[in-house]
Amino acid sequence: MESKVIDVKTAIDKVKSGDTVLVGGFGGSGAAFTLLHELEKRDLTNLTSVSEDGGYANAKLKNACPGLLDKGIITHIKVSFLGSNATVHSNINKGTLTYELIPQGTLAERLRAAGSGIAGFYTPTGVGTVVEEGKERRTIDGKEYIFEKAFHGDIALVKCFRADTMGNAVFKYSAMNFNPLMAMAAKMVILEAEEIVEPGEIEADQVQLPGVFVDHVVQSMEV
């Protein structure tokens, strides 16, 4: 079997203007910064990014890529939390960035559903709030739920601690967060790994994201 390892430039060549890009990480922790920094150099526009928050672009955070927003590469974000992220708010105020808020657990589950071939699900989250607007409400066994649809992306940029050349991945602690879910939900998945090893070096029962979900593996440049 051919190795899935490619270089970072070849990987980011696969992103096209207008794509929906799924970005792992939580407040920047566990984000694929080697891939994101390469994306930041590209002459692309109208990308939609889907992530827990905009931490990967927060100029205050180490490694962050504010250019993704400031240069108009990403023009729409779907997140659960904008936070006190000055880069995000300044671009929203300038009108160069639009956003949609999605409850964090609903976002996670919509991605998981997409990757699992499930059309959507009924959840109690958001019943009676603005999140419910335009959605079907249903009473099941006496409890109220709203219908949330699965959510797919064109390309996922995800990060792990260790991957083998077949794309089997292991994450470190809380850096896992949204990464496996983003990988499940995208048509093409690029996995950045701090360490790349040969198949067999990760014991089968230690794999947290099976290589079946991964198309390409890139060496991370992070310390």
């Binding site: 180490k62 657990g105 991605l111 998981r112 809380s174 896992m176």
Partner: protein
């Protein structure tokens, strides 16, 4: 005498039991951890994918490269802290023995699926129906709901830890919430510096009060009708 925020935190901590799985939100709830009695182990859940938070090891991304280098790869464990081990507030943390990490869908399965014993969070308003508003103020820039809507939709007990009145002196306990809702009818208990209000059979019922406070004084500071339990406890304030 403790200040208001610490009075609230101490009285919330008294509601937690050994072995409880609890999510603590930002603000006053983060103070709760320091009032959990010696010998009681409460397992703290972080929605970013951790259970068993122990100590804060530092603020992530403060460009403390030396610390990060020394706590990277497989040089350290969850007991010592790691550059890839944060809580939901982006602080580096350590975990107690038996702590664990998981992805975001599992994290919210715990919340939504009723596996957490309690979620403790701050609020802008709670109304007499137990509706909660805690994520957006009309006319102000929006930060987003984050995980709050999910965290309150399944926890066995939703504890609101907030000061009784806003900075302008307006009651945060009201007839009907006017701010955007986080969830409807989700609140089990409100703990303020003045009282503890439990929703018993759907009725906001005072079950404890600060020492020396009269019922009239409490009602004068509250913008909705309150019932009083037969036995009113005295809140700890020291």
């Amino acid at each position: 005498m403790l200040d208001n925020r610490n009075i609230i935190a101490k009285n919330v901590a008294a509601m937690l039991h050994d072995g409880d799985f609890v999510n603590l939100g930002v603000g006053i709830p983060t103070l709760v951890g320091s009032y959990i009695p010696e010998g009681t182990t409460v397992l703290l859940h972080g929605e970013n994918g951790i259970i068993g938070q122990d100590k804060i090891a530092g603020r992530a991304f403060d460009n403390d490269t030396e610390w990060e280098k020394a706590h990277s790869k497989e040089l350290t464990t969850s007991k010592e802290g790691h550059k890839d081990l944060c809580n939901a507030g982006n602080e580096y943390v350590t975990l107690i023995p038996g702590g664990c990490c998981f992805d975001s869908s599992i994290s919210f399965a715990m919340a939504r699926g009723g596996h957490l014993d309690a979620t403790v969070l701050g609020a802008l308003q709670v109304d007499k129906h137990g509706n909660l508003a805690n994520w957006a103020v009309p006319g102000k820039s929006v930060n987003g709901m984050g995980g709050a809507m999910d965290l309150v939709s399944g926890a066995k007990k939703v504890i609101v830890a907030m000061e009784h009145c806003s900075k302008n002196g307006e009651s945060k306990i009201v007839d009907e919430c006017t701010m955007p809702l986080t969830a409807i009818g989700c609140v089990s208990v409100i703990v303020t510096e003045l009282c503890v209000i439990e929703f018993l059979d759907g009725e906001p019922t005072v079950t404890a009060m600060a020492p020396g406070l009269t019922r009239d004084e409490l009602l004068a500071k509250t913008d909705t009708a309150l019932s009083f339990a037969e036995n009113i406890g005295v809140m700890a304030v020291e």
